[in-house]
């Protein structure tokens, strides 16, 4: 009994220690974001004398306030809509149709999962430029539709197999068109996998750096949060207090999103990894 209690305590102590270790970078970042420059130069690890919000005001102004967040939101939302819509349709049909063309097309999609972005980013950039799609949200949204399709289809393809076919059968017998059958009967049943897909893709698209860097970096008004962060860190290289304040501003929505979506995130990660 006592041995168990001791082991429990020990195990939990280690867990807490690990969590503390993980949190340390954040702690120091936040501490320093509230310091004035002289305070910070004196010591990076002491607590500030008072909570100085100047850095946050400055960071907010430099980042042009809500603009990067709005850009990120617009791009993310429209990308997700397209991805979910087209991938669910395609995954459904590919999963239900069991002939050779379906299998071949599925493989063509899944093939992309092993191809690193760098292999096609150069022509992609040039293609987008020549199609004049770089000056607006449209270009990058379309690109996300294209390159996020494989994973989305992969994820949903297996899930559709777990949906019993009888419901669709009866719908077809009742005279439902394929589209009606899908959107009103099957799609609602795909909610679990679609919600996890949405959460995974939101995180990926919101935090994406290289693609937006190549496509929309030039247009300052279109820059997403990671791009603005990157630019800011470069500009405020030594003014760590300001840069860190900007960083905290960018991290807060991500953490909030994670806290609310934790269940879906975990489900999404484990859905492909556990057999049966």
């Amino acid at each position: 009994m006592v041995k168990n209690r001791l082991s429990s305590l020990l195990v939990e102590a280690v867990a807490v220690l690990i969590c503390l270790l993980f949190v340390i970078p954040f702690v120091f970042a936040v501490i320093n974001s509230f310091k004035t420059y002289p305070e910070m130069m004196e010591s990076f690890i002491r607590l500030p004398n008072r909570l100085n919000f100047e850095n946050y005001v400055k960071a907010w102004t430099v980042m042009k306030g809500l603009r990067p967040f709005i850009n990120s939101i617009i791009i993310t939302v429209f990308s997700i809509i397209g991805i979910v819509l087209f991938s669910s349709m395609a995954a459904y049909k590919l999963s239900r149709t069991k002939d050779r063309k379906s299998w071949v097309i599925y493989l063509i999609f899944v093939f992309a999962l092993v191809v690193p972005f760098h292999c096609y980013m150069i022509p992609l950039v040039k293609l987008t430029a020549s199609l004049k799609l770089t000056k607006s949200y449209i270009g990058i949204v379309l690109i996300y539709w294209g390159i996020c399709m494989p994973y989305a289809i992969f994820l949903q393809h297996g899930f559709v197999k777990s949906i019993p076919y009888d419901i669709e059968e009866s719908a077809v017998i009742d005279g439902c068109t394929p589209f009606k059958t899908f959107f009103f009967i099957v799609f609602p049943l795909m909610k679990p996998i679609v919600s996890t897909l949405i959460v995974i893709d939101v995180i990926m698209i919101w935090n994406d750096f290289l693609l937006p860097m190549l496509i929309i970096f030039m247009d300052r008004s279109l820059r997403t949060v990671p791009l603005v962060q990157y630019n800011l860190y470069g500009e405020y290289n030594n003014e760590w207090n300001t840069a860190l304040a900007a960083m905290v501003l960018a991290v807060v929505p991500c953490v909030i999103f994670f806290i609310f979506m934790q269940k879906y995130i975990v489900r999404g990660i484990t859905s492909g990894s556990v057999k049966g």
Binding site: N4, S8, V11, E12, V14, V16, C19, V23, F28, A29, N32, S43, F44, I45, L85, F86, M89, K93, T97, I108, F109, A112, V114, P116, F117, H118, C119, Y120, I122, P123, L124, L127, L142, W145, G146, P150, P178, F182, I203, W206, F209, L210, P226, Q229, A243, L244, M247, V251, C254, V255, F258, I259, Q262, V266, I269, T270, G272, S273, V274, K275
Partner: protein
């Protein structure tokens, strides 16, 4: 004929559902990928109106490109270290946080949450926060604690820089791999473990010979993803070290980026990118093959 018209209707319906996805995918992935292949056979500089085909010359030049070959070595070093460390650590943490010794489920979820949080942040931010920690905080901390001899210049030498990148990568992704392992551990039928204990398997023996084989699918998935992540790593290196010091952390992805967008040698850069692509595909193939044969069937 009744049957024929159904077949035709089915085919039309098939393409109605599949074509939108296929079209965007073809437009923004397949075509650029094909373009990548084609560009790798030219010496395009990104601007000129015409493509000058030079055959496999780019690929031959790669064999002499020391910076690229070094980047392959660096990427390999980074990937192997990353894969081993992150998988071992995340497995240990998974065992710890799934342990029945922690009674409160709520607390378990809280700990897992804390460890996972870095995974929801942009890699650029991750890199920056560690840049700050390594350059400023570490120095201060170590000196104020009187441990001045531990003061390292993280970014001044190659080992330090690689370690810094590794630490940032591990911090960011440990939670992810841990979640996969926890899920795997939770699918193990406790009766199996009990039966094993009755048969005499205890502690470490039980872990190695019983538990680990039962979570093979989780291990495979994590190895798979961590290897590919290691090979593709770019963002963190880009922000943290820009490949330095002295190309010590210049990974393949960064080399390709520099070749194409800084040196403006799009054709040559594409060839390097194709090499990376082939490497990853070959790696994936062998991984799948190797692990397919080791799966424990339930």
């Amino acid at each position: 004929m009744h049957i024929n018209s159904k077949k035709i209707r089915d085919t039309i319906s098939f393409y109605q559902f599949v074509l939108p996805a296929l079209l965007v995918y073809a437009m923004f992935f397949l075509i650029p990928l094909a373009g990548g292949f084609i560009l790798s056979l030219t010496d395009w500089n990104g601007i000129s109106k015409e493509l000058n085909f030079i055959g496999l010359k780019n690929y031959l030049n790669i064999l002499d490109d020391t910076r690229f070959l070094n980047s392959l070595k660096t990427t390999l070093k980074l990937t192997v270290s990353f894969v081993v460390i992150v998988n071992v650590l995340s497995l240990l943490v998974a065992f710890l946080l799934d342990s029945e010794l922690i009674k409160s489920k709520k607390r378990k979820h809280f700990y897992r949450g804390v460890i996972f949080v870095p995974h929801s942040i942009s890699l650029i931010i991750v890199a920056f926060i560690w840049q700050f920690t390594f350059t400023k905080v570490y120095s201060n901390l170590v000196n104020e604690l009187g441990l001045g001899f531990l003061d390292i210049s993280w970014f001044g030498n190659s080992t330090g820089a690689i370690a810094a990148v590794l630490i940032a990568m591990i911090w960011q992704s440990l939670g992810y791999y841990m979640v996969v392992y926890v899920a795997g551990l939770q699918t193990i039928d406790p009766n199996l473990l009990e039966a094993a204990e009755i048969d005499g398997a205890k502690g470490l023996k039980k872990t190695i010979y019983i538990t680990l084989p039962l979570i093979t699918s989780s291990i495979i998935v994590n190895l798979f993803i961590s290897i590919i992540t290691g090979f593709k790593s770019f963002d963190i290196v880009f922000q943290m070290t820009s490949g330095g010091p002295n190309n010590a952390t210049n990974v393949v992805a960064l080399d390709i980026y520099q070749e194409a967008f800084l040196t403006q040698r799009y054709g040559y850069g594409s060839a390097k990118a194709i090499i990376l692509c082939i490497l990853v595909i070959v790696l994936t193939y062998f991984q799948l093959k190797f692990f397919k044969s080791r799966e424990v069937e339930m």
